[in-house]
Amino acid sequence: MAQAGIEQTETMTVREAIRQALREELDRDDDVYMMGEDIGDMGGVLAVTGDLIDEFGEERVRDTPISEAGFVGAATGAAATGTRPVVEIMFSDFMGVSMEQTMNQMAKMRYMFGGKTEMPVTIRTTEGGGMGAASQHSGTVHAWIAHFPGLKAVSPGTAESAKGLTKAAIRSDDPVFVFENKMIYERQGEVPTDPEFTVPIGEAAVEREGSDVTVLATQRLVGDSLDVAEDLAGGTSVEVIDARSLYPLDTDTIVESVEKTGRLVVADESPLSYGIHAEVATRAMENAFFSLDAPIQRVGTPDTHIPFSPTLEDEVLPDGDDVREAIGRIT
């Protein structure tokens, strides 16, 4: 699937881009429908689904009881029997409720059955700190899904990739988790308008070219890193890559960049130990061992939960300053 129709674009927020993706896919395919808590008349707690219920009705934009195990399980059963559910889990911290259905059913059915079923289910969920929502509503847990076999995981950093990845996820016959960072819903960008536009799952995007150091970032940290790159321009030339897809992970694009720059910073909001960073770093090392001129730097949450108080939350959340410091340590 190539990036078709990127000629015409429109400026919109990440939130609008996701809603447009949902609208287009609901339009395109009658077998696609959505379910989640308060995604209907309430329009979603973070206002992503908005007025879709008015357009598509309550059979296709379904409010569920508060039972993530029940509706994620049901979505799995539904995906195995001919329909294509798109599920919203309000906060990714609630994924624990439905982890059994995710890990043992959704992720494993195709394989355990010797390929005798497809699993076209999409799970959209929100991640990240920054709004004072405290430890049970601010987590970044995508490493779990990226690690677990049988699941695909994407994590858009721009409005364009938010739209394109959401559409690709819905069209995929595999379970795809779309991790939406809640602090970038208002971030704007240029988004292709062609309804056939998708972003292939498994391809990273070089958002800014540079030659001194590579920053592989995800979600909110993509924008933050681009700002830093702009700031440093003239002094240090920073290449910024949006990972976009965590599993599969686009090793080639990362390696190519590191071969050019010789230096790598990995910036992702997940907790540092056993997080996204280590995998990216290890692949860089495995494939570009002799190109690396300095130790790879990790920018992430330092193995704490996200505390409530803004002072404390600021302290633990990775941001542009942390990316800048990491760059500084190796350039």
Binding site: V72, A74, T76, A80, T81, E100, Y111, M112, K116, P149
Partner: protein, 345 residues
């Protein structure tokens, strides 16, 4: 309609035949396991045949069932072929899951069998999901979720039943109360008189039937099916039954005595149904013996087939993870192919 319904003599005889086939399959599987020929875990259905057969007798061919870890009986009741089932138990390439699943994961989605399931309580959400697809696409089917007495304690069961009830989906939940979850008696897992009391929490009818009586089960499921198709939502059926063998093969069964097993055997679902059919003049002892021999022959053939079938090629371990291939796995697949092409390892 299924291949057999209990309102005709032929249907009843066919139901008896399926029960015999199940028993023969499972007794054979038990022996083969004891001899070390079948790897992993094997949970047998001996004694419980009336539940699976009674349920599937009341279903249409294209209705769905979502099974449990104790799934062989459900498979045969739903019409799956013992040859490919046995091949799966032997881990062979043309078992139902190409050897990837084994006893606990036999599935045939096209035949409406959504899989045995190694996770206690995982069937009901699956059934609710199938019922959702049915409802969403306006098809004339129902979906049955089987679960054990122990599984009733699983939260996902409640979530699934509540969702099906609230959305009024064409689902049926069949509790196979065989009195134990592994070695723990049902009384130590629940504090209710009947497990069908669970239905009250979700506002759906709950009935308890004699699970040793294939017609009692079939009648309850038939009614539930009508209800579901009439748009009146799900039903919960508890079938009281018993497993004669251990929880899994190899279980020492310290938790019960032989007497208890013997008392249940007196109500054997096959023997009692056979008697009834003979009483009604629909069967003779001679025909029964012939059927029994046939069932055994079917399973022996299945066994011979399974034993001779090919093992999967090692590189197949890397197939079926996704609809397309991902580089992370592809490189191992290539190595595996290269290894055997090169003949080494």
């Amino acid at each position: 309609m299924s291949d057999y319904t209990l309102d005709s003599a032929e249907g009843r005889v066919e139901a008896l035949r399926r029960m015999l086939t199940i028993r023969s399959f499972d007794e054979t599987a038990g022996e083969r396991f004891a001899d070390g020929e079948i790897p992993g875990f094997v949970h047998l259905y001996v004694g419980e045949e009336a539940v699976g057969v009674g349920t599937c007798a009341a279903l249409n061919d294209d209705d769905y069932i979502a099974s449990t870890h104790r799934g062989h009986g459900h498979c045969i009741a739903k019409g799956l072929n013992p040859k490919y089932m046995m091949a799966e138990l032997y881990g062979k390439a043309d078992g139902y899951c190409n050897g990837k699943g084994g006893s606990m994961h036999i599935a045939d989605v096209d035949a409406g069998m959504l899989g045995a399931n190694g996770i206690v309580g995982a069937g009901p959400p699956m059934a609710t999901g199938a019922a959702l697809s049915i409802d969403y696409q306006g098809r004339d089917q129902v979906a049955v979720g089987f679960l054990g007495d122990g599984a009733v304690a699983q939260g996902q069961v409640h979530e699934a039943v509540n969702l099906a009830s609230t959305w009024n989906l064409p689902a049926i939940f069949v509790i196979e109360n065989n009195r134990y979850g592994e070695g723990t008696p049902v009384e130590q897992q629940h504090n209710v008189d009947n497990l069908s009391d669970t239905a009250a929490a979700h506002g759906i009818p709950g009935v308890t039937v004699d699970g040793m009586d294939v017609t009692a089960v079939a009648e309850a499921v038939e009614e539930a099916r009508k209800r579901a198709r009439a748009g009146d939502g799900p039903t919960m059926i508890e079938a009281e039954t018993y497993r004669y063998r251990g929880h899994y093969e190899g279980d020492e069964q310290v938790y019960r005595d032989e007497d208890e097993v013997e008392r249940w055997r007196e109500q054997d679902p096959i023997a009692s149904f056979k008697e009834r059919l003979i009483d009604r003049g629909e069967l003779t002892e001679a025909v029964f013996e012939e059927m029994q021999a046939e069932a055994q022959a079917t399973i022996e053939n299945a066994l011979a087939y399974a034993k001779e079938a090919d093992d999967p090629h090692p590189s197949e371990a890397y197939e079926d993870m996704f609809g397309d291939s991902v580089p992370e796995i592809e490189r191992f697949a290539q190595q595996a192919t290269a290894r055997t092409d090169g003949g080494d390892h």
